[in-house]
Amino acid sequence: MKYVATIDDKDFSIEIVDDRHVRVGERLIAVDFESVSGQPVYSLIFDGKSFESFVYQGRRRLAGASARAAVPVKVEDEREKRLRAAAGGGVAEGGEFHLKAPMPGLVVAIPVSEGQEVKKGQVLVILESMKMQNELKAPRDGVVHHIKAKAGESVEQKQVLLNLQ
């Protein structure tokens, strides 16, 4: 299985050969890789060096955490990466945006209304979580299309709060 791992815009082509070997570019490398205590924590011994890693909640962004620091790494299989590249590198500029709650919380206020024109940086929703108020701002100019939540409502993570056209 071939993957592309990306760190800070640097791509690494990595092939999983078998349980004990990976190929990075042209080089075949021996690795000792095991899950720790059956949990989503992994230990890698590579060329004698001991590293540990874990996954954040099934999201695609992984932290390859050595003993020293956490590093965000994006991993995609090659096919996936090609598909995404063909689609133009993500969501198109003029498309519809779905503002999702990045965490569970309480909607404190939605200081915009449907049909309203908004500027980039304008506050669309104020969401309270862990006793902190977080302002969700518009990433570009647009028109508020459909508000799907209301003040006082508790929302789940990833729940769509409103659409922007």
Binding site: Y3, I7, I16, H98, P102
Partner: protein, 502 residues
Amino acid sequence: MFKKVLIANRGEIAVRIIRACRELGLETVAVFSEADRSALHVRYADEAYLLGPAPSRESYLRADKILDIAKKSGADAIHPGYGFLAEREDFAAKCADLGITFIGPKPSSIAAMGDKAEARATVIKAGVPVVPGTEDVGNMSDDDLLRIAPQIGFPLLIKATAGGGGKGMREVRSLEEMPTLLQSARREAESAFGDGNVYLEKLVEGARHIEFQIIADSHGNVIHLGERECSIQRRHQKLLEEAPSPFLDDELRGKMGSVAVKAAQAVDYTNAGTIEFLVDKDKNFYFLEMNTRLQVEHPVTEMVTGVDIVAEQLRIARGRQLSYTQEQVKFNGHAIECRVNAEDPFNNFIPSTGRITHSLLPTGPGVRVDTGVYPGFEITPYYDPMIAKLIVWGETRAQAILRMRRALEEYRIVGVRTNIPFHQTLMDSHRFMGGQFDTRFVEERFSMDGASEMDLTQAEIAAILATLVAHKETERSAQIVRRNERDTSNWKWVGRWERMHR
């Protein structure tokens, strides 16, 4: 003399108080919300009673229910911890009415220090220096404030009279922007405290936040346990505290300590409390406010003095004299506390929730962890994101920093994101190591950008490791991740950090 203590709090501080009670042979009563049935304070207490649904206002803020439980369980004392009901004079007064010992100061002391304007006036009378500002405060109108502002000089701060910490606080750089900021500060104060009154204070630039721990018994003895350096903050929230402050010498420590004692005496204070000061770069210091309760960061003082502050609180509340005189308090070595918050330092510190699937506590020499969570516990969005305090002691500040680095490396919390990488980056910062920082340091001179910088070999290893994990996870779940899942990250996030100031 009380025998059974109800702890009107949750999380690490409830656990901390249960520990002190147990070591003194006192029985403990926990209270909990529906979200906290499996919380550590419930597991560790002798007794535990349900308060209500998860939101604080339906559980930990329900003074009436808590007092009912105290009566039902026969608890004859209540420790409020910090936050929630800790600085509510009406709650302290109700306890007294019911014959329950409130482990804290008298209601009148809470009241005197709770109104920031009154507190200023009181300590000024006692000869304690305060930040220049609107001295004569009552219900000042916007017109009054706009008129006085130029006399104080810009930059200045609008602060809520009833407030603690960041709530209702605004920084004003010019007269032009002041009307808008006054309006939003009043609105925020009104919604947070039911009191829209504000006052003005000169903004001390390049200031350090240094506070003194006070303990006072009911026999008139008041001493201080030295200072804590709390300048490492982000949006008025403390992130790291240390004792002693690298900025103070013995002479200034003595001077500020005796002023702190004076401030406490001015409100006839008993039990543990903290006097917060701003110290400018010329070592002028100004009274900021008094926290009339146990402080989050009390452990750094415990580490350098050997005094168990919570045990001392309990003894004082039982009518005992202080266990120490000022002369008996000796400072030994250096302690640092990092607040471990469930938030993502690589993504503008947004809060993170979820179940902790794996955790390893750093231990070994000179390391202490105060926490209320454990593997399997779920971090909910209802409460403060602080899930642990990592405290280290070293013979010197340098040794404490090296030990903190080691402890941060060891600490594993999987399942929620934490600000541990922030603290790691901070420990590597030359300015922090050199003790060269003020309260603006984190926001203005510190960046996480370099935190994940690595050479190509390191990056390659990280890439291999992450790929192996991804491969294993894919094999395990056999589940295709939707490609659009990341689109929220295209949104720009600004977090307004406005939890209780500690």
